[in-house]
Symmetry: C2
Subunit: 167 residues, 2 copies
DNA sequence: TAATCGCCGATTAATGTTGTCGTCGATAAG
DNA sequence: CTTATCGACGACAACATTAATCGGCGATTA
């Protein structure tokens, strides 16, 4: 069980969109070329990011993507939710409502009225994970990368996209 | 993306193993009949729980399963890990180590030596979820069910398994 | 008006999920 | 001592999902 690789693709790409000049865009072609990932698949990920209001797409020649809001207002969870949806990780098929005892109609009604403790616990655990992701923004990630990577490599990266940026 | 339904099956079944007399067991047949789930599939889940040391299997006629240790020492996470494995939910295909800049050998070596901030963040978030699950034990679940369910339904459930319990 | 971009739906190969089936060895009962 | 019943295990199958590819669409720019 794993989230799709699209989450990783998306987050890595969004980093490059943070520092570009206002009104500039970066195309799928450049993003996929830089990272060495599938162009068509990446474009699907960006369709989802667009629908979620994380990026804005500019169609036509010299088109591409840019962030739709401040990187301060985009959290890791926003990206995960955009790509993977908000479906809970833990399934609840309500098996407690299909137990042997539920052959009794009255008991079944009573069971369906009360929550499933196991599922509640799972949702609580998931929520804890989401809260960590909600507290990490793209701005934070950008600063963290400044701290971890060499200034030269960050500069080279920006240069790569600056050369092909569509202004 | 979801954890398999086996987690839910397993946790619900383990509840019934808590309150049985010492040295008694409950068979797959009774568990699957009570919950209305597939017998063969459930037996696979219990194979995993056995390998993980959560339950003990008794082979032969009148065989079945019982908890291998105190329900105080079995957490939700133990069960999830037994059924699903400990593989992280978030994939990291190390795409940072395959970027355009990594065509430079020296840069590639440097990149591989430094951690991926995005993946670190994901693992931190997952760990937060696991910690919630680690703090919930089968004993806690049992008490919670006592609180939420009617005494009658709990009694009926125990009765169901007592009738077929193998002592 | 032609080339280039993102958008979108259909398709596909590989993989994972949710089972089933048949065989095995262990065990209790007749 | 045989037989029926249990769990263990591997093979298999149906179905869904994942990670892509492909082709046609409309928008844009040169």
């Amino acid at each position: 069980m794993q989230y799709s690789i699209g989450v990783e693709y998306g987050l890595h790409c969004l980093v490059y969109l943070i520092d570009i000049p206002p009104d500039a865009t970066i195309g799928i072609k450049e993003l996929s070329a830089f990272q060495g990932v599938s162009e068509t698949y990446l474009s699907k990920i960006f369709s989802k990011l667009t629908k979620a209001g994380i990026v804005v797409s500019v169609p036509g020649v010299k088109g591409g993507y840019r962030l739709s809001k401040s990187p301060d207002d985009i959290s890791f969870w926003d990206v995960v939710e955009a790509v993977e949806g908000a479906t809970p990780i833990f399934q609840c098929k309500k098996i407690k409502d299909n137990s042997y005892l539920c052959q009794d109609e009255e008991y079944a009604a009573c069971s369906k009225a009360s929550p499933c403790v196991i599922n509640m616990t799972m949702l609580e655990a998931e929520e804890s994970m989401r809260n960590v992701l909600r507290n990490k923004t793209l701005s934070w990630l950008n600063e963290e990368l400044d701290r971890v990577l060499t200034p030269q490599s960050r500069k080279d990266t920006r240069q790569f996209f600056a050369n092909s940026t569509n202004v």
